[in-house]
């Protein structure tokens, strides 16, 4: 080939190249800014100056070491529910049931800690983690099995299974796992041996965050470095072609939902053993939905999920303090997430149009680009 190496692409082209790294950072960032602006416009209805609210939000989030550490504590379970959605999405499947898988993982982990309070930490923690992943994974794999065996719609089944899981959790914390005092629908506080050790003493930043990071790394290796991952992505790209290539899509359905549910279940372990140290009925009710937003913002890539989860963690820490200290209601966080997701979707359209325009321009100028 005599063709010389192409010069560095100008900024515009590198941004609009849909597969390039700058574009995959620029457009999500733009979506976040537009989302902040749109949610800010709604604050005007409450007579708030959105600029002041956002300045408060970010100064609260980064005010002191405790709050900064809290960002990591908040991000840890978000990484995992984000992974739960992103992982299935790479296989072209929709796991909308992360909330239910998270709840069952949380209850299972708490039950394990309450049943074996005499075990030393080094045995109890891995056991709780394994139990939570098993609970979430089995619950998730039910969806995959129904899809594989009966061709059931996985979106509907995983959605409905969340409401069933909520009822199961409500029953367990109201009856068999209820606190000894019997006052509220919640479990007793776990023995300290079952607490995930703190990373920064005096804060809620615990080692569970690094477990979540490891899970993201494992998801990346699984998806891009193993045969199973190749099969999953092949099924996601083109189900018919994968079938012709001899990939058994049914076993892919089950394994994707098993692993996806295990990620969400592990979020239960991290949240219960790392932060809450008990299970309260209906805690963290938005974790599953937030995971979907995080996965979409992160381009369904494990590393993108980590970055988005950190951003959402910061928004949550700051947002929570803002809603506590002013009259801005906490639903503003859901609105913000909804707007950000919407702008990410619109940016897909924009990127597609820019790519088409770029291709036409090259074709018109007789360029040698394909």
């Amino acid at each position: 080939m005599t063709e010389k190496k192409r010069e560095k692409p100008p900024l515009y082209e590198s941004l609009t190249d849909p597969d390039g790294i700058p574009a995959s950072l620029f457009f999500p960032a733009l979506s976040v800014v537009l989302g902040l602006a749109s949610a800010g416009a709604l604050m005007l209805f409450l007579g708030h100056n959105p600029v002041a609210v956002y300045l408060d939000l970010f100064s609260f989030a980064f005010r002191d070491i405790y709050n900064i550490a809290d960002i990591f504590a908040k991000a840890a379970p978000l990484i995992l529910t984000g992974l739960a959605f992103a992982f299935a999405f790479q296989a072209g499947l929709f796991n909308i049931g992360a909330q239910g898988q998270f709840y069952l993982g949380a209850v299972a982990s708490a039950a394990c800690a309450l049943f074996f309070p005499f075990l030393p930490s080094r045995l109890l923690l891995p056991l709780c983690a394994a139990v939570s992943m098993t609970a979430g994974g089995l619950w998730g794999s039910m969806t995959g099995y129904f899809k594989a065996r009966f061709n059931a719609n996985e979106f509907l089944v995983s959605m409905m299974s969340t409401y069933v899981a909520v009822a199961v959790m409500d029953f367990l914390v109201r009856s068999p796992l209820r606190e000894a005092k019997g006052e509220y629908p919640q479990t007793d506080v776990l023995a300290e041996a079952a607490w995930i050790p703190s990373f920064l003493p005096g804060t809620r930043f615990h080692w569970g965050f690094f477990l979540a990071l490891a899970a993201a790394g494992a998801a990346w290796i699984l998806l891009w470095k193993t045969t199973l991952g190749f099969r999953m992505r092949a099924v996601g790209r083109n189900r018919a072609a994968a079938r012709f290539a001899g990939i058994r899509e049914k076993s892919v359905f089950v394994s994707v939902f098993l692993l996806s549910g295990a990620f969400a279940g592990l979020a239960g372990f991290i949240e219960v053993n790392g932060v809450q140290h008990m299970v309260v009925q209906g805690f963290n009710p938005l974790l599953g939905a937030e995971g979907i937003g995080i996965a979409v913002l992160g381009g369904a890539h494990p590393f993108g999920v980590v970055l988005s989860a950190l951003l959402f963690g910061a928004l949550k820490v700051g947002g929570l303090l803002v809603t506590q200290t002013s009259s801005v209601p906490s639903s503003i966080i859901a609105i913000l997430e909804g707007f950000v997701m919407l702008y990410v979707i619109l940016s897909f359209y924009l990127r597609h149009r820019l790519k088409l325009a770029g291709a036409r321009k090259r074709a018109a100028s007789g360029g040698k680009e394909p």
């Binding site: 209805f45 129904f146 069933v164 199961v168 639903s331 503003i332 609105i335 997430e337 997701m341 359209y349």
Partner: protein
């Protein structure tokens, strides 16, 4: 007495499921899923309550709910039909957004009231003579106007879909968009119109919970019932009469759960009764063998490529 109570409530509780699933059948027949349905239910409930509370007129509330549904539907239709973005992802985003907006503006308008604000919900209209029939009479002939309307809409929907030219166009758009295109009709416009109609029906359905039945608005009042209406479209095999059958089954399950909970009978944990409609949906989704899925369901139509 308990049986009569369950039947009356079952017919009543099937109302929003009927309206929502009819809309879903219409729109899915054109090849688009109305994935924003849960959010539209909640926003419809909010808009219905707000309209009725502020104006003092239930009719204004229902109109407001329809308008709210159409606004969300227009956004969803624009992104999925015209910009051709992913229907499920767009739906998930709009559901989160719609729920947040309803709760936000309830707070903006009414602050944090100590007791939930209430309006007088729809009153039952008894049909003379017929409502006197034992057991079935009150269930079928002593309901509110919206319930009569919803039950009447299902056969009407069937007739429009399968016996009129409009229905033929709707069904062809989902089954064979190229043919509709070749006939000189705009696939995009048909789909967008169907999304708007379905969203209007879903907004109305949502308002049934707030002002047709309870007379108040709360954050968790829909709790997945929009998704049940969505599921009924699948289970009814994309046919309004099939959806009607499903809605009756779910109405009975819902009514039995509420009646048994309030009557103090404890045979099984409450949570089991609460989970029953969702487990039924899963069971029915799994048990359904032969599907009559519209061929282009969930896929955007690109005119220039074909």
């Amino acid at each position: 007495m308990i049986l009569e109570g369950i039947l009356v409530r079952a017919v009543q509780m099937s109302t929003p499921l009927l309206l929502g699933s009819l809309g879903e059948v219409i729109v899915e027949r054109t090849g688009v899923m109305n994935m924003a349905i849960e959010g539209i239910f909640l926003l419809g409930a909010w808009a219905g309550f707000t309209g009725a509370y502020i104006t003092g007129s239930l009719a204004a509330g229902f109109l407001g709910a329809i308008a709210a549904g159409v606004v969300v539907g227009a956004l969803y239709g624009w992104i999925t039909v015209f910009l051709k973005q992913h229907q499920i992802v767009t739906g998930v985003a709009l559901n989160i957004l719609a729920a947040g907006i309803g709760i936000f503006f309830y707070r903006v308008l009414f602050g944090v009231p100590l007791l939930p604000l209430t309006v007088e919900p729809l009153r039952p209209l008894a049909v003379p003579l017929l409502s006197g029939i034992p057991i079935l009479g009150p269930a079928l002939f002593r309901q509110n106007i919206l319930t009569y309307l919803a039950w009447g809409a299902m056969p009407l929907g069937w007739w429009v879909l399968f016996r009129t030219r409009t229905g033929l166009v709707l069904r062809s758009t989902g089954a064979d968009p190229e043919a509709v295109d070749a006939a000189g009709l705009s696939v995009e416009r048909v789909r967008f119109g169907a999304v708007l109609a379905a969203s209007a029906l879903s907004g109305l359905a949502g308002a049934f919970y707030s002002i047709g039945y309870l007379g108040l608005f709360s954050n968790d009042m829909i709790g997945g019932r929009g998704w049940i209406a969505f599921a009924l479209c699948f289970l009814g095999n994309w046919n309004p009469l099939g959806a009607l059958l499903g809605a009756v089954v779910f109405g009975v399950a819902d009514a039995a759960a509420i009646t048994l909970q309030t009557s103090g009978i404890r045979m099984v944990p409450n949570e089991f009764l609460i989970a029953l409609p969702y487990m039924l949906t899963i069971a029915a989704t799994v048990a359904r063998k032969r599907f009559n899925v519209p061929a282009s369901l969930g896929t955007a139509y690109f005119k220039e490529e074909k």
